[in-house]
Each structure stands twice: as C-alpha cells, then as structure tokens.
Subunit: 395 residues, 2 copies
C-alpha cells in the first residue's frame, strides 16, 4: 500500500518538475528576444487596434499598432550589390542586425548582374542572422532593350558628361535604375515574399528598432515606408512627367482617390516638383510593384526610353507611382529609425524618440525639416503633427 | 507508516526540484551571455589553466584563458571628452556596447577639463549599459606648471606651426597629452578600478568580443593591451629619449628583466626608433601607471618640460614605460577585436578569426603587417606565430 502511494507521489512530482522547468525555459527565451520594449503599445492603440485616426482636433494623432506577437511576416531584406561592394555592404548588414534584425532574423536576398564570389556568399551568410539567398540578374534585364537606339543613348551620355550631371555618363547606373524600377520585385527569389526592406552599402541605422517593422506595415495597412525625401535633379528627367501624363490619359482608373498628387506637384498635376522618397531606403509591399497599375506604368516608361535617352532614376519613378496609385494613408514616414546615406541624415528631432531608441545621431544633422527636403510638405499634406521645435531645423 | 514514507519522499523530490531548476536557471543565464563561443579554450589550455607557454617548437603557441565565469573585474571604460565631442563619442560607445559591453555592462568614466553639459550626461548615460560617472579635471592638471617658461613654449608653438607639425601650435593638445600621460589614472573616479579601456570619439570596433576582456587581462597576467602600433614623428620628441636615458641612469632598478627594449630601439638603447602603441586604444592595468617606476618617470619627464617645449605625446611615453618597466609577457596585442581610428585599421587577417567574431572589416585594409607598422617587429621579438599570409599585407 505504502509502495503504491509513493509511486503515485513520485509520478505526480515528476510531472510537476517538467511543467515548472518548461515554464522557466520559455521564460528565458522570450527575455533573450528583448520583447519587453518592443511590445509596448501606445495608449490609443491599447484602447483600439484600429489604424484609422480618431476625430482629429486640429492635427491628427494617428493610432499605430506595434506588435511582435505571432509568426514572422513573409518579408526579406534585399540588396543589389557587386562583389566589390562586399565590405561596405557588410557594414550596412551589421547596422541592420545590431539595431533590428538580431531580434527578428528576417531573410536577406542579394542580387547581382554578375556572379557572386564564394567570399561574398561566405561572409554575408556569416553576418546575417536570417537565411541568405543569392540571385543573378538575367542579361535582358541589365542591357539595352531592342527598341533603344544605342547611338542616341551614347550621345546623351557624352552630353551629360560635359554638363557634369552626376552619373550622367554611366551605363551601369542606368541599368541599375531600370532594374530597381521594373524588375527586382519580379526576381524568382522574391516571389515568396510580401514585403521587402531595401538596403544599400555604406548606410547607417541610428536607432534601436524593437518592433517588427514588417508586422507594423501589415498591421497598420502601410504599403510604402521611407525616411528621407528631396527634389530630383530636373536635368535627369526632362520628359518623365510628360510621359507620366501621357500614361494617365489612357489609365486614369489607376489613380487612387486620396492620393499624394499635391506632394509631387505644386500646380495640381501641371508639372512635377521633383519631390521623391530617397529609394536607397525602402520598406514596402512587393504586391504594389506587381500590380497592374505599376507594371503597366513601368512598361510605358520603359518603352519611352527615358532610362537611356535621359537618366531617369528609380526614386522619382517609385515615388510618382506611390503618390498617384497608392492611397496616401498607406504611405509611412519612419520618424523613429534614424538613417544615413551619404550625404543626408534622418535623425529623430524628438528627444523622447532618441532616448527610447538610443539613437546615436546628432539632431542638428537631421535633414527631414531642412528647407531643401520635401518631408515637411508631406507632414502638411497628411495633416500630421510635426515634432515640437521642427522650425529650428529649417535653415 | 504510509504517511511518513510519503512525507519523506515528497521532501526528497522537492529538494530534487530545487537542485534541477537551479541548474537550469544558471544554464539559462550563461546562455544569454553567449558563452558558447567565448569559453572555448585551446586544447593546451584545457590540459592546463597555466598562462605560460609550453616548450615551443620554433614559434610558441601561447596558451590563453578565456573565461566569463565569476564576478566582474574592477574595471571601467574611460573617455576624455568635451561637450562638443558628444555625438562622435556616442558613436564610439555604441560600437563598444554592440560588440562587447552589452554582454558585460562595465562602467564608463568621462573626464573633461570643462564642465559636462546636462545633455552630455543624459545622452551618454542612456547609451551606456553600465554605470556612468562624470569627472572634472583639476585646473592644475590642465595648465602650464609653475616651472614652465610660457614665453619659450609660445615660441616653440610658432616654430612648429611654421614647420606644419600636426597639433604643433595647439596648447590644449599639449595639456591633453600631459594629462593622459600622468594624471588620468589618479583621478578619484578611477581609484576603485584595477583595469581601464580607453575609448576616443569616432572609433570603430570591427569584431564581436564575446569574452570578458578585463577578466582575460587578469587571468592571463596581462597589464597592457593594444591594437595598432607605428613610429612617432621625431620632430615632436627631439629630447624624449635623452631625457629617458637620464632617468634610467638614476633608476635602472625599475627596468624589467625581460623587457621590450629591442622593440623601441634598434641599437640596444642608443636611440629610440619611435615605435609606440597607438594609445587612443588601451586596455590596461591602472596599477602599472600608479607604480613608483612610472610615477617617478612621469615626474622626471614633466620637470624636463618636453610636453610644452616640444610636443611629447602620451603614446610614446606610455609605450617607452611599458617597454622598459613591464615584463614583456604582460604586453598583449589584441589580434581578435578589430579597431579603427582614423586613418588606421586593425582588421584580423586570419579568416577564422573574422568568421568566428563576425568582423565587419576588409582584411586588405589591415595596417598591422604594413611595412610602416611596428606590429610585425613585436611578433618577431615576442616569438609569436604570425597569421598565415601576413606577407601579402606588407606593401
């Protein structure tokens, strides 16, 4: 009788050990992911998971959801790079890993018009905490299309070289702009993903990002996120706007109701003011680029030849498409990440943001509210509350 | 009877629960410190915890102990900075935190000849994971000593300005060199510490450092650690060596038996070859600077006036003292940290080291084995095995 009791008790306590230790182990792992900060949700968000704004007093305080719970999004980092970019890119990867990805381990897709060296693959796979994938760009997506008069294109490059237009005489830069404009999101390696974060060599991320940026995009119905905006050099896009208007004549159905036309044009669409999101940083929805609207727009621009007869950049093209085809509520300015790409800094001027995220940047360097930037205009059009003291940074 | 049995068993199993969970908890915590890497000890070390070398074949393979167990050392980071250095210094702090201190949380002492601003204290205390302390340098340690002829000193600065000697005309640079040479280790805020790691604004740490560097210094009986070495500009120290020899005439008892004289002199002490450890990076023992040998040496140099009548730097002074007064086995070259201070890089050329520590630097930039560096000479004198392929980096 005593034996049976004892056996029962032993069994009971053993189960207890398992449960208790299981509890401790899981407790440990979640700590190591440092979710304590990242799951903090703003008061508004606690009261409602809605992403739409409550009745605004004068300036609206958008309610946002910051969540790391549940599974990862179908998202990846994507970098267009050549073997010689390796070490500058490794610097960028470490920035992203230190500030964000070491907590989330998202994949990284590397694309190259040439073949990646074994060293490139070895080193990048070592520093990325997620899975790394390496893709080569098909020749036809990185060369002159059949309909381009290469003679004429060569003359343009000569001309631009004389006029000292940056990258004006570069062929590869033009292939790059065309690829980023119309092809990267169609690469087989990106097929499985919904969101991407574009990263270039030599960039810096200034602040800790403790929330899942991709989940943030999805939860808040955002389709395009950016950090720096400025006007484009008009000499590189003489006919881009005319070509865009020609496209719109036939395809007005693609224009979103509440769009950002006012941000890219100061005369109601008559002319382009050059404002664009600096596309060396992009967190966006791949679906948007794969949509009929954008695919047709790109085909139309590509046929017009401006990538080679002028020097159209992917930044103004992405930005015009986002401004016209995307509901403006889906466009998000990241005011909490902090970003540097030579020569411009995005450094949160809100001290509370810098403090919470340990931003390692000097607010005086922030370009967002500089008179040359288009970011202040974005705040105005979106009816967003500018951070206090922004006037000090206009210059 | 059954009851007593059961009670006894319950008690026994309960003890078991405590032991078992205690075991898991300690296991958990050490994981979060990522000891997996840092505790790996070389085969020799496993067989013996000794830090001395086994009988060497031709080149000795020093056995080192890497341990994070037990309590923290009495150690701190120390930075001499002005308020205007804030953001460049924050960049350095983040480098140290990301690569090392986020795992160990050592303190940070900031010293300033002026008063630290509230902003400086607020921002630095936010980005440091250890306790931060702020000290002001006493006026008498940052001004001309009574015995200095300021007229003569002014003439020297004029002369050096004409001859374009770097910092040749700067007064504050001279106060800085004098302070780093003879006073920082005596500041009350440093009294409680045994070891320090000197950090300057604008530096980079290229590799993950997963072991406790200070514990490494203690366990391996190291008193001075460095990353970059090079020859000093002779124009800044015309009489430093003569003054040193005058000191040694009276104080030969301070010279260590197995010293590094051969590293700083190519003619057996006749002249100084200028080789010095670049002191903007230092991990060292404070006791050494506080020793009679060094204190008397500094007093002697200070009285000679070379800080002001010439432009003696703290680097050659620290280096000469280390080379002469410290047993050379206590001098350690960090070949696994990776360091940058404009314009020189220390980037481990051993691929296995870069891989293990995720070093974000290009080996081709490494200065260690460059013909202008004195590091190769250090390997030779210490009888250390150079990394394979070092010849490729001589240039």
């Amino acid at each position: 009788m005593a034996r049976t009791n004892a056996r029962l008790i032993r069994f009971g306590i053993f189960a207890l050990v398992l449960v208790f230790c299981g509890y401790i182990l899981t407790k440990g792992s979640s700590n190591s992911y440092n979710l304590s900060k990242s799951t903090t949700v703003s008061p508004e968000a606690q009261s409602s998971a809605e992403t739409t704004a409550p009745a605004a007093p004068e300036k609206k305080e958008t309610t946002k959801v910051f969540s790391n719970s549940g599974s990862k999004e179908k998202a990846t980092f994507v970098s267009l790079a050549r073997n010689q970019d390796l070490w500058e890119l490794v610097g960028s990867i470490r920035q992203i890993e230190d500030r964000f990805n070491s907590k989330f381990h998202y994949d990284w897709v590397f694309l190259n018009d040439g073949e990646f060296s074994e060293e490139f693959k070895k080193v990048t796979s070592e520093v990325c905490s997620g899975t790394t994938k390496y893709g080569q760009i098909p020749k036809e997506q990185w060369s002159f299309p059949s309909w381009i008069d290469t003679e004429k294109a060569a003359q343009v490059r000569e001309e631009m070289k004389k006029n000292k237009i940056i990258y004006g005489d570069s062929i590869s830069y033009r292939h790059m702009c065309r690829y980023e404009s119309g092809f990267f999101f169609r690469h087989p390696l990106l097929e499985e993903y919904e969101y991407y974060w574009r990263v270039e060599p030599g960039i810096k991320i200034y602040c800790d990002v403790d929330y899942d940026v991709f989940k943030f995009m999805k939860d808040n119905k955002k389709s395009y996120g950016w950090t720096i905006s400025l006007p484009e050099y008009k000499e590189t896009i003489p006919t881009l706007w005319k070509t865009t208007k020609d496209f719109l004549k036939e395809n007005s159905q693609y224009v979103a109701d509440k769009n950002l036309m006012d941000w890219i044009s100061d005369d109601d669409g008559g002319s382009y003011n050059g404002c664009h999101f600096w596309s060396n940083f992009e967190v966006g929805s791949l679906e948007f680029w794969r949509s009929d609207a954008y695919m047709k727009y790109f085909e139309f621009l590509d046929k017009a030849g401006g990538f080679f007869y002028e020097r159209w950049g992917d930044a103004p093209i992405h930005s015009i498409a986002v401004a016209l085809f995307m509901p403006r509520e889906e466009v998000h300015f990241f005011d909490d990440i902090g970003y540097f790409h030579n020569p411009f800094h995005n450094c949160p001027i809100d001290e509370a943001v810098r403090e919470k995220n340990k931003c390692m940047c000097a607010p005086k360097d922030d370009f967002s509210f500089h008179s040359y930037s288009c970011t202040s205009k974005f705040y105005d059009i979106m009816g967003l509350q500018k951070p206090t003291g922004w006037e000090k940074y206009v210059q």
